[in-house]
């Protein structure tokens, strides 16, 4: 069943001159891990904003076409209604935390929804446990590293128990190790809790392995949409300036020079495995 479905989505910001989104039609199934990528300014963030109604309700302007998120038409539902179903995690972790303690921040969404206190406490504990930040509970946000802050941001969205979690370049302020940690947390949410994940990401070397659906955008349009192996294997993807995983690139180079591998590798482990097979064969 489709969790997110857009049809002919076209949007221009009130202050903008050119279209930020143009005829975007995508379908995201329940439980999928989607990686959304594309060059800067291609409209990834704008698309994410459509998923919880920030576009058009917060940004204004006219959104043409249709977006259904967990069956709700974004045009007809307010941001706070959609917030129960779709959680957004933003790029800069610092600007998503408002409270003076981690615990209070994680509770923020639940407080807004008027969840009773007992229930709220349970959900906050659960969200802190799931993201493995229980020990940070009493800390103030400015005492945390970027990676820890981003995990708090994820926990505070998680506490609202959304069906879909949309993360807009959550690791661009983090070092590779912090990024790796975030991807693992997101992957666990996807695999263990069945939360549908839409991850906007440039670091495909680290993120691609978790994906089971890849969408590539350029200049407001969806250029490619499909299975990771198919998409990363295409020469076109690389020419669009997408930083495909190194293992996939290796595959392409070998292919060109006449070495055929049995499948397109995404991770270095896979590449090693496949290469071993090839080498043993000869």
């Amino acid at each position: 069943m489709a969790v997110i479905e857009t049809k002919g989505l076209t949007y221009t910001y009130p202050s903008g001159t050119k279209r930020a989104l143009e005829d975007v039609s995508i379908t995201i199934e329940r439980g999928e891990f989607v990686v959304l990528t594309g060059p800067s300014g291609c409209g990834k963030t704008t698309l994410c904003r459509c998923f919880n109604g920030l576009v058009p309700h917060f940004y204004g302007g006219k959104l043409e076409g249709n977006v259904l998120v967990t069956g709700l038409n974004v045009h007809e539902h307010s941001i706070y209604e959609l917030a129960r179903h779709v959680g957004l995690v933003f790029q800069n972790p610092e600007n998503q935390l408002f409270a003076l303690s981690v615990e209070k921040d994680v509770a923020f969404g639940l407080e807004n929804l008027g969840v009773p206190r007992d229930e709220m406490k349970k959900r906050v504990d659960w969200a802190l446990q799931t993201t493995d930040i229980e020990d940070l509970r009493e800390r103030a946000p400015h005492e945390l590293s970027g990676g820890q802050q981003q995990r708090v941001a994820i926990a505070s969205v998680l506490a609202m128990q959304p069906n879909v979690m949309v993360l807009d370049e959550p690791t661009s302020f983090l070092d590779p190790l912090g990024a790796q940690r975030i991807f693992e947390v997101i992957n666990e949410l996807n695999k263990n809790l069945g939360i549908t994940v839409v991850l906007v990401e440039h670091r495909l070397d680290l993120a691609a392995r978790y994906a089971d659906h890849v969408i590539i955008m350029d200049e407001g349009r969806v250029m490619l949409d499909g299975k990771p192996r198919e998409i990363f294997g295409l020469e076109k993807t690389r020419l669009m300036g997408i930083g495909i995983p190194k293992s996939t690139r290796l595959y392409q180079v070998l292919e060109k020079s006449g070495v055929h591998l049995s499948k397109v590798p995404i991770t270095s482990e896979e590449a090693t495995q496949i290469l071993k097979e090839v080498l043993n064969r000869d």
């Binding site: 919880n52 920030l54 917060f58 941001i79 706070y80 209604e81 917030a83 129960r84 959680g87 957004l88 933003f90 800069n92 610092e94 600007n95 998503q96 935390l97 408002f98 409270a99 003076l100 303690s101 615990e103 209070k104 509770a107 923020f108 969404g109 639940l110 407080e111 807004n112 929804l113 008027g114 969840v115 009773p116 206190r117 709220m120 406490k121 906050v124 009493e138 103030a140 946000p141 400015h142 505070s156 969205v157 609202m160």
Partner: protein, 268 residues
């Protein structure tokens, strides 16, 4: 950025910190009322009760473990205290209806001390109340939630903005900006290259914050709930009773004839 340093909150715990902020505020108000009840007149200054009021607060400071911070705020008030002393002294001297020089001195001293006692009680309140407690107290006294939220968020961003100001300052200095150059007006102008990026960044930040708030169901219901709830504990009731007793005692003493000046008591 020592100015911001002072605003940076620290999480400390002590019996005084754990008291309900509303009760502490009540105590401060009681002390405020008592303090302005005493002081006396030029020919009968009441220094003694003010000295008592100053010293009865010291146990609070010690119990809260904020000696250093308290001493700093007292030092911070020193200039104003000296000013109040000098102001009273000079004007009363010129006015000239005082009976003796000793009384004039005592009166000026009492006025200065009165101010110091007020500063003392407010600083104990702010030194021992964490901003989130304060925000919570505001919320539970039915201050509109928007104000409480603005308050805690402002406090939350003080360290962030301080750091940002430092970064901008370093960046502009690296480009040859000299802050300590020129006359007064020039020096103020020197800060413009710091302020503009700081303000622009703050605006961008506030937009991102608004977006994040909306995404977490801001405004979903009129009846917001709260993770923390302030409840009065035994120690809070004790402080309330203590404050009321102090007030009663003060009113009683006030109804008695004026307290004689120290000068008279000590036969100076």
């Amino acid at each position: 950025m020592s100015v911001f340093e002072g605003l940076r909150f620290r999480r400390v715990s002590s019996p005084i910190h754990r008291l309900d902020p509303r009760v502490k505020f009540f105590y401060v108000c009681v002390l405020f009322v008592i303090t302005i009840m005493f002081g006396g007149t030029i020919n009968n200054p009441e220094l003694l009760p003010l000295i008592v009021l100053f010293f009865i607060q010291i146990p609070f400071v010690l119990a809260a473990g904020v000696k250093r911070e308290w001493a700093r705020s007292m030092r911070g008030a020193a200039f104003l205290v000296a000013f109040i002393f000098a102001f009273n002294f000079i004007f009363r001297y010129i006015y000239g209806n005082y009976e003796s020089f000793a009384l004039l001195l005592e009166y000026s001293f009492a006025m200065a001390l009165r101010f110091l006692v007020l500063v003392e009680s407010f600083s104990i309140f702010f030194l021992t109340t964490s901003p989130d407690h304060l925000g919570l107290a505001l919320e539970q006294t039915h201050v509109p939630y928007e104000f409480c939220f603005a308050f805690t968020t402002a406090v939350r961003f003080v360290p962030v903005l301080a750091e940002e100001a430092q970064t901008i300052m370093d960046a502009q200095k690296a480009r040859g900006l000299e802050l300590e150059r020129g006359n007064f007006i020039k020096r103020i102008k020197n800060y413009i290259p710091l302020l503009i990026p700081l303000i622009v960044n703050a605006i961008r930040r506030s937009l991102e914050l608004a977006e994040a708030m909306e995404s977490r169901a801001w405004g979903a219901t009129e009846k917001r709930t709260n993770l923390y709830v302030l409840t009065l504990k035994n120690s809070d009731y004790i402080l309330v009773v203590l404050s009321v007793l102090m007030l009663i005692l003060a009113v009683y003493v006030r109804l008695l004839p004026p307290i004689p000046p120290l000068t008279v008591l000590l036969h100076i």
